[in-house]
């Protein structure tokens, strides 16, 4: 009897201690920030564990390093410093949604201006919530392509390079290599894609472009996670396409490259997409990856002006978020820098219009839709060559639509395309607007006015 009593008391004691700890930690987190009145809160939904961690970690490092740079060196955005915290999503929808709900209210006086879902599935789950909460979701180089139409998707921004633009630019690069768009006729282009909504996003534009230019579009799915692709590449060996467009993610990419080499398909005729195209994707494939191509809106490199500044003020001073300095200037690291630049410039644009104070979602939406990163502004930022010129509007939430093609030489990436390879946006936009209209019809959404 007394044993049970002791057990019960111990349970009670343990529960009391737990409750006290929780209470104290809540109090502590509130008290800690009570005196920072004018800061801009910018929550970061990140993934540092799980199957995709190695792809994510350099991205957050790029973002955090740039934010730190803005705070330390430029004193914040017009004097308002950035304050951020991280929330682990494991690239999972449920956790992404929980993160979003947790942070959307803002922190000590500062609302949330922009939410970066950092995950294609998460962005789709948050589309409607973001409209209800009026917080723009910025999905750079991923996300739903129809969201380009801001009249139907007021708070979704697939900025810089949507998946449709990615497919189209890859085709245009192949065309350039072949000697012109007329030479595309009769070519066989196989797309090896991750069998998920992310991978399937390029099926429609490729089918359309195949019809337009006369090449043969073959689609070969790879079931998640893609660690055994012998059957798929055996098929490729049978079909003998001229080019392979690799839309992979995570382990699928190095396995694809290795398997391609195994069956003897020339690796320099494989073009990886954005999320198959960073150092972290090709290094595990080893020596056979030499010659592999990738298309990306974030070219690799640590010699851009902004990188030199980051190196001087952040990396060399030990303030970088990077644990592995090899990733400085990698494609994914630079994607983080690009994301941070766009976020900061959008906030700056909003501040110019609404006044210098912590920006909220609606103001940030205005800022994004009036973002104009011209060549001149990019030069001021030190991002020429790193970021393409961007001009967004209500009807164009993408604003860019071009990528560079890189080639892996075993040690690093080298740019092999002639600058920025533009996509056939004019051809694709009508189709995109059609899909947006269909979505609007299904949901009963009234189109916004195209002015803001």
């Amino acid at each position: 009897m007394s044993l049970q009593r002791t057990f019960f008391h111990m349970q009670n004691l343990r529960r009391a201690v737990a409750a006290a700890t929780v209470g104290l930690s809540f109090a502590a987190s509130v008290a800690a920030f009570a005196d920072d009145a004018k800061t801009q809160y910018f929550p970061l939904a990140t993934f540092r564990v799980g199957a995709y961690a190695s792809s994510g970690i350099p991205v957050w490092a790029g973002e955090i390093d740039y934010f730190r740079y803005i705070n330390e060196v430029e004193g914040g955005i017009n004097g308002i410093k950035l304050v951020w915290d991280e929330c682990e999503t494991n690239w999972e929808v449920e956790k992404g949604v929980e993160c979003y709900e947790r942070v959307k209210g803002g922190k000590n006086g500062s609302p949330v201006p922009i939410f970066l879902p950092h995950g294609d599935p998460i962005s789709k789950a948050l589309t409607e919530k973001s409209v209800a909460d009026k917080i723009p979701l910025v999905t750079i180089a991923y996300g739903r392509t129809e969201a380009i139409d801001g009249r139907v998707f007021p708070y979704s921004f697939p900025t810089v390079f949507s998946f449709w633009s990615e497919a189209s630019s890859a085709i245009n690069f192949i065309a350039a290599k072949a000697g012109g768009k007329d030479k595309l006729k009769g070519l066989k282009i196989a797309t090896v894609y991750h069998d998920s909504p992310y991978g399937k996003e390029t099926q429609v534009p490729l089918a359309f472009l195949a019809k337009t230019y006369g090449f043969e579009d073959i689609q070969i799915p790879v079931p998640h996670p893609g660690n055994d692709q012998s059957a798929q590449w055996a098929k490729i060996r049978q079909l003998k396409p001229d080019w392979v467009f690799l839309r992979g993610w995570g382990v699928m990419t190095p396995v694809a490259i290795k398997t391609a080499a195994k069956v003897g398909f020339p690796v320099d005729h494989i073009i990886g997409g954005i999320w198959s195209g960073s150092e972290e994707d090709v290094r595990p494939a080893g020596a056979v990856a030499k010659g592999y191509l990738a298309i990306t809106p974030f070219p690799a490199g640590s010699n851009f002006e902004i990188h030199q500044k980051l190196k001087k003020y952040i990396l060399d001073k030990g303030l970088s978020d990077l644990k592995d300095p090899k990733s400085f200037g990698s494609v994914y690291y630079n994607s983080g820098v690009d994301e941070a630049i766009i976020a900061v410039e959008a906030i700056r644009t909003a501040q110019a219009h609404f006044g210098v104070h912590p920006i909220n979602g609606e103001e940030a939406q205005w800022g994004l839709e009036h973002l104009d990163l011209s060549e001149k502004r990019l030069a001021e930022l030190g991002a020429t060559g790193l970021e393409q010129p961007l001009k967004l509007s209500v009807q164009d939430h993408e604003g860019g639509g071009a990528g560079k093609v890189l080639q892996w030489d075993g040690e690093k990436w080298n740019v092999v395309s002639d600058g920025w390879v533009k996509s056939d946006r004019d051809l694709l936009l009508p189709l995109i607007y059609e899909r947006a209209a269909a979505y609007a019809k299904e949901k009963g959404i009234v189109l916004r006015d195209a002015t803001n």
Binding site: V49, D195, V222, P223, N227, S230, A231, V255, R283, G286
Partner: protein
């Protein structure tokens, strides 16, 4: 026709890789009667440890030895901490415990050694070898040879050494084995140790094939159909089951996939396993369970 043969051969060789992982399961099942879901994370742990040591420029064989020691230590710890307290529980509880264990091993491995993807270079150049018109991968052949050697070694171990014979005695009649003085605990630890060694070999080969990272743990999902088809208690069964699953998967992906639209390999091996279960519940080489009322 050539394409068919190539697909078949590629599939068989991939199947051997699955068998390697399955053998680890068979060992544990023979000793402890449990399907050790944590085997996948043990493979990851072995591969990660090896790669981390190699990246510190430690000699290949020394790194292998150190990794082996660590794996054996883990195996013994698992046996004492997880399996012994649960010794009389139903199989599903044991399975759930090994699932929890897989989380523990994964979490701790990644804390200790990080989450980035590593390249594992075993020194095997993977250019295809041509037999007439048919291409075969050099790497896969080496893997198949390794598996073959492992099977022979384990067969000798189980039929000729004292440990092996004791194990078979325990499997046949635990009470009798105990009564003649066979020490259960020591035996379990030895077998789990050997399973750890098998994890190391599997980890090295799989890591070399696809890079060392988290998805390595998913090989366990392919091992289960292999075991169902081959029998949970037979090493030969693991090899045969692996070949069947590997070949079946490859051929299904190409030919069935063409009809149905691809990615059938996610469920085909399991469908095959179900058909085997309906016809031969104990697997091709397994022991039929006698049901008592």
């Amino acid at each position: 026709m050539n394409f068919f043969v190539e697909t078949l051969v590629g599939g068989l060789l991939a199947g051997v890789m699955y068998s390697l992982v399955a053998i680890g399961f068979v060992l544990v099942f023979k000793a402890s009667g449990v399907f050790n879901f944590a085997q996948g994370s043990m493979v990851l742990c072995a591969a990660l440890t090896f790669v981390t040591l190699r990246e510190k420029n430690i000699d290949f064989w020394l790194a292998a030895l150190i990794t082996l020691a660590i794996m054996v230590a883990i195996a013994i710890a698992v046996e004492r901490v997880v399996l012994r307290p649960l010794v009389n529980q139903p199989q599903i509880t044991l399975f759930m415990a090994t699932l929890g264990l897989s989380f523990v091993i994964e979490g701790l491995s990644q804390i200790a050694m990080g989450a980035s993807v590593h390249e594992l270079d075993l020194g095997i150049v993977d250019t295809p070898i041509k037999f007439g018109d048919i291409q075969v991968s050099q790497f896969d052949l080496v893997a198949a040879a390794t598996a073959g050697v492992l099977v022979v070694a384990l067969s000798i171990f189980f039929s000729k050494t004292r440990v092996g014979i004791s194990l078979r005695a325990i499997a046949d009649d635990p009470q009798a084995a105990l009564s003649i003085g066979i020490r259960l605990q020591t035996l379990w630890q030895i077998v789990w140790g050997v399973a750890g060694f098998v994890s190391l070999v599997a980890g090295l080969l799989w890591g070399a094939r696809q890079g060392v990272q988290f998805a390595l743990t998913l090989v366990v999902l392919k091992a289960l159909p292999v075991l169902i088809i081959g029998g949970f208690t037979s090493i030969t069964g693991a090899i045969v089951g692996g070949l069947i699953v590997g070949a079946g998967d490859s051929l299904a992906e190409i030919y069935l996939g063409g009809l149905l639209g691809g990615s059938v390999s996610t469920w085909f091996a399991y469908a095959l396993a179900v058909i085997f279960l309906l016809i031969r519940p104990a697997g091709l080489f397994g022991e039929a369970a006698i049901e008592r009322i």
